[in-house]
Point group: C2
Chain length 320, copies 2
């Protein structure tokens, strides 16, 4: 009898759940629009509903538990949401306990970046590795790191806030309050902001023609068609990503770097520029590290959340 | 009968050895000027001589082994010196094996930053912690990280090259070949270069008067006496250190940050500026992390090297 886990990927706009077995196979799925303004009790009720939907008809004793991927910061050692910017009322909330009380199954709560890293590690692009970095580049830059065969947690489980290393001293303001963070330069919104600003005075580009919206997807599409401005914007984004990745190589020495999130949709276009910067910025011993796209796409976090349930070695709370 | 280990701290100018017991107590010491130009065979013979000096009269069966702290980069998993810039001929050298053959005891070889981190963790400022970063700021910036109760190794044991994260995009050239590395801005030589440049046109400062040399020590001394330029230089150095430390807090989430190396001689003067930058740059959950001075001073690496011998959980080669 295969053991099953419920994985939940809680995002600011959507909350998704899946019933997954130990091989990472998805047996059922469900999703809801996140009640992001309604507070922790309502969000917890959404998780309960989703868990019921995906596990309908499954014998209770086959369910090992529920893994939840959540936006941070959360103290994953205590299971407490410290202060989630995208979800109203999630300040010092004992979220793990609330979910356990609602669903009646053991719950593992993890930061979304770390959950996605675990998903890619166990079932995606990092399966054969002992040392990997997963980077998600979308609204922000987050991620997770596994070294020496273990997911890194650190104090309060807060390791891996990789978007908030300074790459430009006293540079652009970041949403975190600091200046010059990698996220402030290389996130999806930063990429789109540069595109909007440069397209405005550029008569040769197709970007933004006839009032078309300018976002990362539009820039990648235009670059693929050979639009000069779009290609320059992609090259700059790739360079900024490469600066941060080169730093991460020196800091962590991974065997592989896995890129996910919305910006990874342009991975093939970004890749040459990322590699060029790494070649220039990384010390020789680090230069050959493969940089690959996430194999699980949008599901790294969902699959990773379920993997938390099976993966005793990777949890922040191995004593539970 | 107490078990004993020989710790060796191999530096570019000096090689030191000590006989140490499991409590970290030093029973004997010896030192030589490093034969830095003479090649691996001669340096290995120096290690053999030092080991003989500090273990003279000790029963062989009390000696568990030899721990060696060496400048990097070394592949600590294979025990191979990849390319040590400060020691001639140390390119792809099976250094661990050479030392074992010479001394006839089991040898553990570790990067100097990681060895010092282990020393501070086991016997110094980080004794009670499960998560710590040790930073040495001297000729370069190096260090080591312990997270979740384990020293981080990564691929080839090369994790922890913390001096080579970019803090200024396309900034000052670094010895590593990259531009804008933390080391290029906040190392001892960078600090001294800024001091020399600014003292030149400054008639109010005492720095460099009567041809006195200007280095970190001189700047700290002048700052302690209230010299305005020296105080401004210390404030800038502290700010640069704080930028890098704030990034490291986000990346690793340590319980404590331990500062060692020559620049740490000015720790009391640097501390307020470091903390001010961390307050501005670090997210709230990370701001209260204690930043302290290394407790073992110049001996973090020497004690840490010996600790490698006793510390099965921290070695890069747990299978040995």
């Amino acid at each position: 009898m295969t053991r099953l886990a419920i994985g939940v990927d809680l995002g600011g706009t959507q909350v998704r759940a899946a019933l997954i077995d130990e091989a990472g196979i998805v047996h059922a799925r469900a999703a809801l629009a996140t009640a992001a303004e309604a507070g922790p009790a309502v969000v917890t009720a959404q998780l309960k509903d989703l868990a019921a939907m995906v596990s309908a008809g499954v014998a209770r004793d086959r369910l090992v538990g529920v893994g939840v991927s959540s936006p941070g910061p959360i103290d994953t050692l205590r299971g407490v949401a410290l202060s989630i910017p995208t979800l109203a009322g999630f300040v010092d909330v004992p979220f793990r306990q609330m979910i356990e009380d609602a669903i009646g199954l053991k719950v593992w709560l993890e930061n979304d970046g770390k959950a996605a890293a675990l998903g890619e590690w166990r079932f995606g692009a990092g399966r054969t590795c002992q040392n990997l970095i997963y980077i998600t580049v979308s609204t922000g830059i987050g991620g997770g790191v596994a070294l020496d065969g273990r997911l890194l947690h650190g104090r309060q489980g807060l390791a891996g806030h990789i978007g908030h290393m300074t790459i430009v001293r006293d540079g652009e303001p970041c949403l975190c309050g600091n200046r010059g963070c990698w996220e402030a330069y290389a996130s999806g919104p930063a990429f789109a902001r540069r595109a909007c600003a440069r397209a405005e005075g550029d008569i040769s580009t197709r970007l933004g023609r006839h009032g078309a919206p300018i976002d990362g997807r539009a820039v990648f599409a235009a670059a693929a068609r050979g639009d000069d401005l779009a290609m320059a914007l992609v090259a700059e984004e790739a360079d900024l990503l490469g600066i941060g990745i080169a730093s991460l190589l020196h800091l962590f020495s991974p065997e592989i770097v896995i890129l996910g999130g919305g910006v990874a949709n342009g991975f093939d276009l970004l890749r040459p520029g990322i590699l060029a910067r790494i070649d220039a910025a990384a010390m020789p011993a680090f230069r050959d590290t493969p940089i690959v796209r996430a194999a699980l796409g949008d599901n790294s976090g969902l699959i990773g959340a379920a993997a938390l349930v099976f993966d005793t070695g990777s949890r922040a709370t191995p004593g539970m």
